[in-house]
Amino acid sequence: MAKMQFKINKSSLMQRRNNYGYLFVSHWLLGLVLFFVFPLFSSIAYAFSNLQLTNDGLQLEWVGLEHFLYIFNDDVKYMDNLRDSVTSLLTALPIIISLSMILAVILNSEFKGRTIFRSIFFLPVILANSVAMQVLSRPDMDVPLFSMSSGETMEGGGSMIDFTAILADLQLPQAISDLFEGYLANLFNLIWSCGVQTILFLAGLQSIPKQLYEVGRIEGCSRWETFWFLEIPSLRNIIQLVLIYTMIDQFTSLSSPVMSQATELMFSQQMYDRSSAMLWVYFLIVGVVMGVVLLAFNRLCVKRWE
């Protein structure tokens, strides 16, 4: 009985304490309603109506699914862009993940000049997606290395090896060499989008307890075995986080085809209604793709590692 009493008292005290949580999130709740939830619903409303900018503000006229039908039936570019966005993400994802993991493993080991290399490898965090990089990658700026990413072939002057010729010499099947050519053309972008991921992996590697490595050493693991059987399974949560981050980063980056089409429509043609419809379709498809990737990762990898 006494125990019971104690429990009840404690829970009510905890409840009272927990209500202080509202105090901490109150300003955020206000902001969410004003600047996120409400705008989100109005953007859904935009997607289903015709917008007219007048002096009194926006005039909405309900048109139902007209914009969606236009996007799917009449807009030639949209479906192509959608396909490009998804396929380019799915091909870039394994490269980004493995590249950043390799970098993190290297940066985690002891060697001379580690701090300098670490600070160089975190540079993309401040420089990637920067306006300065957009200026550099403008086609009329003609900066070597950057012009590679726009799919043009390199003209001399640059200091890169002609990988395309080597690929052609190897006489691989067309599909594989196309895939590699795509990677090489985007090599610059791919390396540049590894910054945050490398940090995440490095942090994850640092949090693996030293005892596990010790056990591995006593058991006679080689470095390679340590990597596959110790580090990767311990990093499974981080890998999941990196997958999510990378997908969001790639999908919402303004260089992704659908995003650039939608923002172009928004800013230069002021067609907010149609661009919202585009973004919402895109967002739903992105959600499905992310769900499938995460589910596959959980089924195929995490289950086996646990």
């Binding site: 300003h27 600047f35 060697f111 965090v125 990089m133 550099l136 994850g204």
Partner: protein
């Protein structure tokens, strides 16, 4: 993993495996350096390019023998960049609009994250889902609705109600004022704020609860516990969020483009720089000056200096605490 090597004679295998070990380690470290230097080149390339071009005289831009190191240095591209970037003004408005709201965000997101991480209040699960949504949904979806929001600022219909009651026109357009940036920052929904809240939450969850319990037992209120106990011991996460927040605010382009129509920020000026330069020079084709590189240098310099000052603490803190794990 469980395979054991056949050992014939301890002495012999010791020496040969040792030699093998040395060869392998030399080869491995050589490979590592080659790999790292190759990658560093790609990562440093834009910076080197900007630095070597920022002070290049006009003669050198058409000289094919000049690749990296310029033969003639001059201030001329720099002066042009400063003039076209509208420098003192745009720097001031970047500080006023973006950097201040970055600092506000660093503070307010921490408070919200503490509430989410430590208190099991009702509706927390829904807020968690909304938090993930704020990270997932691209900001451009809510950009136009928010523009309309600020164009005629009317939270919950209160302003219109007051206007109706007193029969006045309050003219509550917030466009071109700092509030378009400060209000979202103050309420924890600024640029990429969901991400900062997420980082803080991960960190607060990892903090030992006992310290706060002790403060609580000693009669500290929730605010005092947060300010006296939690904030002083979360220097690492504050530093990380502050750095990311300043960088992302500094690079913010679309918000500034939408909300500020005169006296805009450096990011907007930089992104319009090339077309402004062409208009200024009256040339349509390729550029004959390296002024865009000087403009990039001006734009990046403050962030780079901040990075160089903070990077040692930032990297060691991230690497040693595993802030995201």
């Amino acid at each position: 993993m469980t395979k054991t090597k056949q050992v014939n004679s301890p002495l012999k295998t010791y020496s040969s495996s040792r030699i093998r070990g040395i060869v392998v380690s030399i080869f491995a470290s050589l490979l590592r350096y080659v790999f790292l230097i190759a990658f560093s080149y790609i990562l440093l390339y834009p910076l080197i390019y900007i630095l070597t071009h920022a002070f290049r005289a006009g003669v050198d831009t058409t000289d094919p023998t000049v690749v990296w190191i310029p033969k003639n240095l001059s201030w001329e591209p720099m002066q042009k960049a400063i003039e076209l970037m509208d420098l003192p003004n745009s720097l001031f408005s970047t500080l006023k609009f973006e950097v201040v709201s970055a600092i506000i965000s660093t503070a307010t997101c921490g408070v919200a994250a503490y509430g989410m991480a430590r208190f099991q209040f009702k509706g927390r699960a829904i807020l968690n889902v909304i938090l993930i949504l704020t990270i997932l949904i691209p900001a451009s979806i809510v950009l136009i609705p928010n523009y309309m929001n600020f164009y005629d600022f009317n939270p919950f219909g209160i302003v219109h109600l007051i206007e109706d009651i007193f029969k006045t026109d309050l003219n509550t357009s917030l466009l071109n004022t700092v509030w378009t940036f400060w209000l979202p920052a103050l309420t924890g929904v600024g640029i990429r704020a969901g991400f900062y809240i997420y980082i803080y939450m991960q960190f607060y969850k990892g903090l030992p609860k006992e310290l706060e319990e002790a403060a609580w037992v000693d009669g500290c209120g929730p605010w005092m516990t947060y300010l006296r106990i939690v904030v002083p011991s979360s220097g690492v996460s504050v530093l990380t969020v502050f750095m990311l927040s300043v960088i992302w605010h500094w690079n913010d382009y679309y918000n500034a483009l939408m909300y500020i129509s005169d006296g805009t920020t450096m990011a907007v000026n930089l992104s319009n720089f090339v077309s402004a330069l062409k208009l200024f020079d009256g040339t349509a084709g390729t550029l004959t000056t390296d002024a865009p590189m000087s403009a990039c240098l001006i734009f990046l310099l403050p962030v780079l200096i901040m990075y160089i000052c903070l990077q040692k603490r930032f990297i060691t803190s991230i690497a040693s605490t595993g802030i995201v794990g």
